[in-house]
């Protein structure tokens, strides 16, 4: 049996029950994206008009591989949070909102997984 008062259970967490977690993670990944984007844009510029051989050769550098994996994961966490806010702002019907939030997570996980696995495959030359 929970002996805590209702107030003590929500104190510091707000009505959503997650406190500043969403806000903080959005800022944290935002800062990461800011730095990683510089590396990512450089990577894309280096890949312009590249043949398959030239493109895959870039992954012999572990920093390139790490950069892309970090960019994808940090970016996906950031965009999932962002889309969640958009959905919560515009989709008011409870069922539709839930469906959108689930689809949002599915989409982001799929993007992250295919992206990261592709990079790993390119890095190990599979």
């Amino acid at each position: 049996m929970n002996m805590r008062t209702p107030l003590s259970r929500v104190r510091g967490l707000g009505s959503a029950g997650e406190g500043t977690g969403h806000f903080w993670l959005q800022r944290l990944t935002g800062i990461a994206n800011l730095l990683l984007t510089i590396g990512f844009v450089s990577f894309v510029l280096a890949s312009l008009g590249a043949s398959h051989e030239q493109f895959t050769a870039q992954f012999s550098n572990p920093f390139t591989t790490a950069l892309l994996i970090l960019f994808i994961t940090s970016g996906v966490v950031h965009m999932r949070l962002g889309m969640q806010v958009i959905i919560e702002d515009y989709v008011h019907e409870e069922g539709a909102k839930l469906a959108c939030l689930i689809a949002n997570t599915f989409f982001c996980v799929a993007v992250a997984l295919v992206g990261v696995l592709s990079v790993i495959q390119l890095a190990v030359g599979g």
Binding site: L45, G49, F55, G75, G82, S118, V119, L122
Partner: protein, 136 residues
């Protein structure tokens, strides 16, 4: 609260005005653009993932993607993606500044909004000039 309408019932009370009633201001437009570019980048990640997956799949698949992105339509999409990226990035920096409580004065926010727009266009053109030099 005897006169409170039942949940879901239409209320005769006035609602607070929404976007369409205000005269557009640059701060408001750039705020909207931050959300719009964020949503665009969300779906734009598909291009990145398909590109990487194609490279991981086969040289032929990668060549097809490289060709596709090099067409006029492909370049236009990538140009838009570049601008969305920089617009959202500079907009994010603006939010980081505001998070500290600084630069929230009316005149300053207006200047920051213009700076975001001009800066994002400038960075986009810079990257594309460098891109064409590398590519050609």
């Amino acid at each position: 609260m005897a006169d409170t309408p039942a949940k879901g019932a239409a209320s005769a009370r006035p609602l607070s005005p929404h976007l369409q009633i205000y005269r557009p201001a640059i701060t408001m437009i750039m705020s909207i653009m931050h959300r719009v570019t964020g949503a665009a980048l969300y779906f734009g990640t598909l291009i990145l993932v398909v590109w990487l997956a194609a490279a991981a799949s086969s040289p032929a698949a990668f060549d097809t993607m490289q060709w596709l992105l090099g067409t006029i339509v492909g370049q236009l999409v990538l140009f838009g993606y570049t601008w969305a990226l920089f617009n959202h990035m500079l907009g994010g920096i603006r939010h980081f500044i505001w998070d500290t409580g600084a630069m929230l004065e009316k005149a300053t926010t207006t200047r920051l909004a213009w700076l975001t727009l001009v800066g994002s266009l400038g960075l986009t053109f810079l990257v594309w000039v460098v891109g064409y030099i590398v590519w050609l």
